[in-house]
Amino acid sequence: MAEYRKERTVKKRPGMSAKAMLMMSKAMGGFMPTCREVSQLTSREFDEKLLFRQRLGIRLHLIFCKWCRLYRNQLQFIDNFLRRYSADVEKAPIGIEISLSDETRDRFKRAIKDNSK
């Protein structure tokens, strides 16, 4: 599972310059996705298999774009978290740690008792 550590040395690396984007877009025959499109495709990939050229478009875009890399890694991190801890209800903390109030507990017990007859 991915871990995120702070990179203390924050490099001033831009997302993607308009120029680089335009060049890549031409090289891809217009298939190079924008950040907006990459974010949409990143979500779709959790639900369906993308076309080859869509996957290729994402890959190429990610090489140049730090923001979309972060976006994608973080969405995958959240998904991993959810998948890992909701797989086995017998042992995993898949909910919020909380206790029923004594009143509610008694109410449930009474309901079970009344309906057991």
Binding site: E3, Y4, G15, A18, I78, S86, I94
Partner: protein, 204 residues
């Protein structure tokens, strides 16, 4: 495969009188992550116990008692969303305008707006304390979503239901579901970054 949490390992169910003490808190925690308020969650848990009581004879013991109870609770939650979905507008597009993280036009059209870019996260998924926090913040972030987005997110990403099943339960078109999921994930990411991971923006 069932590593039991206090419940008996036999193929028979334990005495229903003990269910509340053994599984009550667990089911309540499960329900409250997915349902908005305490009373709805309590009702779902009570309904689960009563439904389980009636269906006792059909328990075959292939799964543990808790897994069985959770599967009943899951159905109660899905029923709740099905009812709720009739009152909710899944075609509400008002949020489009304020929801846009990307530059609309010009040479940089489609790239991240300066203030909307993702920042680095500092989180260790192996840390138990952070695991517990995760569920708390997840709940808070779902609360901040419009109801139709929250419902879709819970069914898809938390309950891991298939997209076509969600379309049936909530009566949503697949293309619309895709858009809602994209918004849900985008909002959740931003919300967790803001209230949980709270890192300073690297560029602003």
């Amino acid at each position: 495969m069932s590593e039991e949490n206090g419940a008996s390992k036999s193929e028979k169910l334990s005495n229903p009188q003990t269910w509340v003490d053994v599984h009550g808190d667990f089911l309540f925690g499960y329900a409250i992550l997915r349902l908005k308020d305490t009373s709805t969650a309590e009702d779902a848990v009570q309904e689960t116990f009563l439904a389980a009581l009636n269906a006792r004879d059909s328990f075959r013991g292939q799964s543990g008692e808790r897994t069985w109870l959770v599967s009943i609770l899951k159905n109660k939650i899905i029923d709740h969303f099905r009812r709720l979905s009739r009152e909710v507008d899944f075609h509400n597009n008002d949020i489009d305008v304020i929801d846009d993280d990307f530059i609309a036009s010009g040479p940089r059209a489609g790239t991240w707006k300066a203030g909307q870019r993702p920042s680095e996260w500092v989180v260790d998924a192996a840390d138990l304390a952070e695991q517990k926090e995760f569920w708390e913040y997840l709940r808070k972030c779902i609360d901040r979503m419009p109801p139709h987005i929250g419902m879709v997110f819970i069914l898809r990403d938390i309950e891991n239901m298939k997209n076509e099943d969600i379309c049936n339960v909530l009566t949503v078109q697949p293309t619309n579901l895709r858009v809602i999921l994209h918004r849900a994930r985008k909002r959740l990411r931003r919300c967790l970054e803001k209230i949980w991971l709270n890192t300073e923006r690297s560029e602003r």
